[in-house]
Amino acid sequence: MHTALVIAGKDLRQRLRDRSALLMAIVVPLVLASIFGLIFHNAISGRLTFKLGLVDQDRGPAAQAFVAEALAPLQRSGLIAVRREPTLGAARSATEQGKVSATFVLPAGLSAAIGHGRPSTLRVLGSVDATIGTQVAQSIAQSYAERIDTVRIASAATGATAIGAAQVAATPSPVSIADNSTKSRQLDAGTFYAAGMAVFFLFFTVQFGISSILEERRDGTLARMLVAPVHASAILVGKLLTSLVLGFASMGVLAIATHFLLSAHWGNVLGVAALIAAGVLAATCVMALVATLARTPEQAQSSQAMVALVLGMLGGTFFPVAQAGGLLATLSLATPQAWFLRGIEDLTGGAGPGAVLGPVAAILAFAALTGALAFMRAGRLIAP
């Protein structure tokens, strides 16, 4: 064990001086988590709000009905925020400046036209830079127009010649918005990307320890170590220790940093520690297995990067692929990253460490499988 500690100490000293390792382990995941958290804050947390403008040139009952019945419920649900503009010019300006995604223009005489069954136009001014917001506004306007048509058809059927705002308001909207998200397992954006980036880059961080065996072989220092009075297994253990220490340090620093800097809510400390321990072990075993399949350090590093990227994407570290359902969601369960994130989701609801037993067991199974395969090939890795 003394030899393994000496080797791990030397490796860690080298890694601490390697700025790229520090960047990969701490800085890049932290920066990416911050950026993604900011970009996808609303999308991930389900609190998406579209800012829409309104120019009311009608000021009649039809306009009041549109605001009260079509816009107000959506405002209350938080989906839209409405900003009134005094003139069409001001509305155009606000749209162009990005203050609103789109603007409804209720033309003068709208109420009268509807009341007498004459055609009229409810316009939507959309921003080319906010296509989704524009589509939402169009959808709302379309929905309102369909309600008017429904009333008009009903009135014609009963022989009425005019329709009122009250009739329009009483007609149910053909569009309904329901929130079907599973809030009990939903991470906020800050936590999702903090955990996602941490576990994604963990696989890159731990590779330094294992693939350095190949570097040492290339540089002749492995031969020098093998000529020394040490067991070859001690060299392997030293390298694994390096990976484990780097992995724990990286995850620990990121968990603490994202908690304070990004307000990430990781949940119960013991549960998080168990997930991190299992995750670091799995990442180390996976990267060790990949390293045993390579002949050169360059081969190992590119293969490890590929494996880390594929597992990370499939595991949902960038996007919550589990919510997509189907085959993708099933496949994601074959990655330790998916189980790690699932464990963090379980903890965010305030659950204790017992809640992560399932995810931890799944991650450890992954570690055991890949670790056993890596062990079977380890002799090749430390051969001179």
Binding site: T3, V6, I7, K10, R17, V227, A228, P229, H231, A232
Partner: protein, 371 residues
């Protein structure tokens, strides 16, 4: 008093004239006194208060013994039946061209490579790749630099000292000693990537000396080294050997082997062709001379034509000339010149030399050392 056995040279396939009749010197009293000296006495001259002691008991007998080593890589037999012994205080040179099997031999001798057949005994202990105790007696200096460029010289030395089992305090003291010996004390804190090639070479050797080994194995340590650093390395090896360390030194430079080595083994195609002192090896050539014909034209044809003469023992093309081992240069020279000219060589210069190791190698293998 322990006497080494006298033994014939080992290559059974070679003709009898290729043997050194009695390759091993019987150790005299002077040799025995050398065995009683710590191999690292040279480094103790700058001892900063640390009690230096060689690893393991002092060995009365061969520090290294290789018996009938064989190693094959696929279809290529890299080493074929190599046997050698090195006593304390003795410097043994393995001389041979690139690809002769020198590095494979020393890789087995230091426990880096498992022999297909044969055995290695170091300081009285059998050595395999899995040995631990026997390896403690070996200091290994690989041909290529094997240091960590992002660590300082001190950190490099301290790491390997700890790897060889020195306690933290002993390692620190020993590192300072070695830094002084290799002349890097003033730049000990710098990353070694900033060092010159010569400084890196010195550190490479210093690592091999850290644990006061009984056997120092150096694999072509002067390849790619500037003349000044090369001389410093050779002086260091001489000093270490003089103080009692057994040294196994591989080289393809004849002059290094002649300067450093008490005994030399000539290796070619994985076989130890002959071994002995320089005088013993040169005696193998007998009363022969080396003649070099320089000129332009068909060198190969000239070499072939000359070799067909009864007085020519060996012929090869080297450095733009034809090298010949002849019975008596004075009597055969006219015939040689005529033959070479007839074969298409326009001779511009003729050189006649006393036999040296280069001559011996040509005589034993039929080719030049740097072929």
């Amino acid at each position: 008093m322990v006497a080494l056995p006298l033994r014939p040279a080992t290559t059974a396939q070679a003709s009898s004239e290729n043997y050194v009749p009695c390759a091993w010197r019987s150790p005299d009293e002077a040799d025995m006194s050398a065995w009683e000296v710590s191999p690292m006495a040279a480094l103790r001259t700058v001892d900063a208060g640390v009690k230096g002691a060689p690893v393991g008991p002092l060995v009365h007998g061969p520090v290294l013994e290789c018996r009938e080593l064989h190693k094959r890589f696929g279809d290529v037999e890299a080493v074929h039946g190599v046997s050698l012994q090195i006593a304390a205080g003795e410097t043994y040179g393995l001389l041979g061209p690139n690809g002769a099997g020198k590095t494979t031999t020393i890789s087995m001798a230091c426990g880096l490579l498992e022999a297909d057949r044969g055995e290695v005994i170091v300081a009285g202990r059998p050595l395999t790749t899995r040995s631990v105790a026997a390896k403690a007696a070996i200091g290994y200096v690989p041909q290529e630099l094997a240091i960590y460029p992002d660590l300082s010289a001190r950190e490099n030395l301290r790491f390997f000292a700890r790897l060889y089992g020195l306690s933290a305090a002993a390692a620190n003291a020993r590192v300072e000693e070695v830094l002084a010996v290799i002349g890097l004390a003033e730049r000990a804190r710098e990353p070694t990537k900033n060092f010159s090639g010569g400084m890196q070479r010195r550190l490479n050797i210093g690592i091999g000396l850290l644990h006061r080994p009984q056997l120092l194995i150096l694999d072509e340590p002067t390849v790619g080294v500037d003349p000044q650093s090369r001389n410093a390395i050779l002086e260091s090896v001489e000093a270490l050997s003089a103080e009692g360390m057994a040294v196994l030194y591989t080289t393809h430079y004849m002059e290094e082997a002649e300067r450093l080595c008490d005994r030399i083994g000539i290796v070619d195609l994985g076989e130890l062709k002959a071994e002995g002192t320089r005088a013993e090896l040169v005696a193998l050539v007998g009363e022969h001379d080396r003649v070099t014909l320089e000129g332009t034209g068909d060198l190969e044809a000239a070499a072939r034509a000359c070799k067909s003469l009864s007085s020519v023992r060996a012929a090869s093309v080297q450095d733009g000339g034809v090298q010949l081992i002849v019975d008596s240069a004075r009597s055969v020279l006219p015939e040689l010149l005529r033959t070479a000219t007839d074969a298409g060589l326009a001779v511009s210069a003729v050189e006649v030399d006393e036999p040296d190791l280069e001559t011996v190698f040509l005589h034993l293998t039929g080719k030049a050392l740097r072929d």
